[in-house]
């Protein structure tokens, strides 16, 4: 019998079927996260000096996407217990019982190993090494070590999502330079305000699952302060590529305006009407706005640097 077809039945309970659709395996790869990773990875590849054959460039981006998906699948395997407790994640393929945990782990491991080997064969050892490092960081450092232990999980773990521009750059050049490191820093400092804005209004879910997100551990007021602080730091790092002469004014002005918008959003989060414990009295409207803005911000920052590169 197929491993992921589950038949249960007997005299008391009617027979039921729950088998995985191909779409469930696809969902295991966290396609929304992958789309962001592909985008930032492609920008890193596009900005890098030198030329990469289009087939190899496509393969490099594919490997980044598959590796991110593999890390997502392994993450879902490890977090299946807390996923089942959270409203946002309880319908994922593993907690919903559509895919067996062991099969998901095998799927993730196979894709992780395959993507790293393929990256090495298609591009170079440097890109493949950073790719392997990013998977290991997401799985071991973020998922297994930090996520359930410290409210700093998002801060340090955010590095995992910041690797793609470095990998894209390394796929072309075989090395790492200051500009991709600055892009790494932009994604790194973008991650905390992005996720903490979400966690402000998804706090109950995290509390139920026992995940020590900042609002759960330190409270909403401290989270609002941290969001504002990290947004200021992000603003500085997003302008640095221009200030250090790596980009032109198009990017510089865009980064200034976009960061100013983010800081205004974070200010509204900070000044949101609150109860004594910091809980929002407005249904966390500013936090929801900041979460949406942060998604647009990252896309716009990377588009701006690509556009700037195009006109230079």
């Amino acid at each position: 019998m197929d491993a992921d077809l589950v038949l249960t039945g007997g005299e008391q309970s009617p027979l039921s079927v729950s088998g995985a659709e191909w779409l469930d395996w696809f969902k295991l790869l966290k396609p929304r996260v992958v789309s962001l990773v592909v985008f930032t990875g492609w920008i890193g590849l596009y900005l890098a000096p030198g030329h990469l054959n289009p087939v190899l460039a496509f393969t490099a981006i594919l490997c980044i996407a598959v590796a991110a998906g593999a890390a997502g699948a392994i993450n879902m395997w490890y977090e299946r217990d807390i996923d089942a407790l959270m409203h946002r994640t309880r319908n994922r393929p593993i907690p919903a019982g559509r895919i067996e945990p062991g099969a998901a782990l095998a799927f993730g491991l196979a894709l992780a190993v395959g993507s790293v080997i393929m990256m090495w064969l298609a591009t170079n050892l440097c890109a493949a090494t950073i790719l392997a490092l990013s998977i290991a960081f997401y799985v071991f450092v973020y998922t297994i070590w930090l996520k359930r232990r410290t409210p700093q999980n998002i801060v340090i773990g955010g590095a995992a999502g910041a690797f793609p521009p470095l990998i894209g750059w390394a796929a072309v050049t075989g090395s790492v330079d200051v500009l991709p490191l600055l892009l790494f820093a932009v994604v790194f400092f973008w991650t905390p305000p992005h996720f903490w804005a979400l966690s402000l209004y998804a706090c109950r879910d995290y509390t139920r699952a026992g995940v020590p997100m900042l609002p759960v551990v330190a409270g909403a007021t401290e989270t609002r302060r941290q969001i504002f602080g990290y947004t200021l730091v992000l603003g500085v790092f997003s302008v640095l590529p221009w200030a250090l002469g790596y980009t032109g004014a198009l990017y510089g002005i865009s980064a200034c305006l976009l960061s100013l918008g983010f800081i205004v959003c974070a200010w509204f989060v900070l000044r949101d009407g609150q109860a004594e414990d910091g809980t929002s009295l407005t249904g966390d409207r500013p936090a929801r706005l900041t979460f949406r803005y942060s998604l647009a911000y990252l896309a716009a920052i990377f588009l701006a640097i690509a556009a700037d590169h195009l006109v230079h």
Binding site: T8, L15, E21, N53, V55, T59, A122
Partner: protein, 50 residues
């Protein structure tokens, strides 16, 4: 043992078969795309050497 493993009803069997077909088709497409990609990578690498 009677009744174990439980036998699917015709509707359930049809649904299982449909899902199995979907997964098989997806796997065929992925493997085919992978074969084409490997061929393309080989050509690209050879042209780089040349």
């Amino acid at each position: 043992m009677d009744g174990f493993p439980p036998r699917p009803t015709p509707e359930q069997a049809a649904e299982m078969a449909r899902r199995q077909r979907g997964r098989n088709l997806a796997l065929i497409l992925v493997l085919g795309a992978l074969a084409v990609l490997f061929f393309a990578i080989t050509i690209a690498k050879l042209s780089q050497m040349g």
